[in-house]
Amino acid sequence: MKKYLIPALSAAGILALSAVQSDAREYKIGFIGPMSGGAAQLGQQMERGAKLYMKLHKSQLGGHTVKMIVRDSKRPGGPIAKAAAQELITREKVELITGLIFSPNAMSIAPLVNKSKTPVVIMNAGTAFIPNMSPYMVRVSFTMWQSGYIMGQHAAGKLGCKTAVSGYTNYPPGKDSVAAFKKGFESSGGKVIDAIPMGGPAKVPDFTPFFQRAKSKNPNCMYVFVPGGNHAAAVAKTYQALAMRKAGVQLIGPGDITQSSLLQAMGPAAVGVVTASHYNMFLKSAENQAFVKTWQAEYGAKSVPDFVGVGGYDGMAAVYAAIKAANGSKLTADGAMKRLKGWKFNSPRGPISIDPETRDIVQNVYISTVRQKGGLLVQEIQQKFEAVKDKCKELKLGKCGKKLY
């Protein structure tokens, strides 16, 4: 033992010395997402968005660098994400955690980061009350209430639906989304006549029995929430296969059911579907067109960014803002929150900011319809709602009105 002690000590001394001499600091951050399994495409989108931002803004941290450590959360549930966060915090000693596709992933790590005081930037998970679970969480993606409530009002108003059936994947964001839709729809004079739980998020079910049930109720509109990815691809297909449009049922939902990266594969089935969403790749702004162009230059013309990719990109922008503010010192939860409350950014989706009160995203919401143009499907924007806040927290409904930590 003694034999090694002196060289070890001197090595440590040299290391310490060199650390003091250079003022460039490496910030280690943890990234948790589904990198394998059924939702791997979502993890890949999010990681690509984050890495694209890092690549384009490498030189903007004043010599400091960022090391992103990726951990696989595999399934939509909590335990694996929680174990990954624990390992990232205790062993890798990361100073911030980001990523988080599924709501249960984000919920499960809240108690951990509250204890370790690790700041979290949520790049996707959209259940409204998540930021209420930790004072150290900031969300840059979306809340289910932003799209659901507006879609409800739009369905009862412009689309003229008197009755609606909602179908949802049975886990927190699904319940959130249909609750938001119901509130918006019924406050504008519509009536939700059936709400159909359509299985869990882990496995894509055959949607036929659920859609057949909806069809047998003869609603004007059917509002569907499913998580993006494999679930979404199956929704439009089922809707078409059951000839529901001919039966007079209009398919509507949040942007998850017309995810840009899956749109072309959905084919003619998706034409006419109306969604409320904060992003699709067809937004006409200069920021978005430049973003799509750089994305395809980096990942090939076959890859297109969708709302998950933008979540990754903008999330990393927020992380960089926090690191810049720390300026070479340790990234603390308090420091990061101080910087990110009220943070503004010109995102490809339009101007976004973080509400200092709720640490949640404020952004535009677009109503759009899928149309066929040439051989391709595009989403045409009909209406834009500016600077939309989370309605659930505004109305202080249920858990949204409570402090959960």
Partner: protein, 291 residues
Amino acid sequence: MSSFLNEISTVLVFGLAYAMLLFIISVGLSITMGLMGFANLAHGSFAMAGGYVTVTLVSQMNVPFAVALLIAFIVVAFLSIPFERFLYRHLYRRPELDQVLLTIGLVFVSIAGVTFIWGPDPHLILMPEYLQGSINLGFNIFPKYRIFMIVAGAVIVAGLFYGLERTSIGAKIRAAVDNRRMAESCGINTGRIFTWTFALGSGMAALGGGLGIQILGGIKPVFAFEYLVIFLIVVAVGGLGNIRGTFFAALILGIIDFAGKFYFPEGGAFVIFAVTILVLLIRPQGLFGKA
């Protein structure tokens, strides 16, 4: 009354289409388990391979859907032979745990393999004109594809029954399943029979994988795992190695599954498990299995 007829026909037609799919994929697994007592958990991987062959042929080489299904059947049937010859054969007389470990390992390899080649996204195909749209039967409207699925399933079932009940190779297979030693003493080469039956079963699974693309929401890497449980349930409820049992189990489970989800979406997905438990409590050997 008309809404009642509407609901009943909905449940029967959609349930039947699903049942046919379950049967086509599960029958190979049932035979493998009955004939050699081999727990082939990689059966879903062969179905998945069939799905990917079909998708690739249809969307990249513009092969007609029906031809692509046939090619998928042949390709996967032949591909499965080396697996049986070089891997499975060594484990026939080994404990089930060894068999499970080997085949579950193969599932992981196959998932990683297809993710590497085709990526994690689900692949869908554009159906030919004659399978698009729906048929109005007066009392109800059904997607053409589901009707096609039922017809295709019925043809395959009839073919299988004929082959097994009326041909000499069928008689040999039945003999080998019933009593392998006795069949061998009569001069039947059970090893070779098994290879061909295994290939046939894998080919059927591949056919099911191709047919299921439209019904199961596309083909994707996790397919091999996602549907494994339901295939195993069909086999267990039907009784190992029993084709008639597998057919009726698929029929019952397919229709009950659809009805459960249609009438009680909140807990419908569990109805099928409740039925399975019930059947196995009363008849642990399965509906048509030997005690």
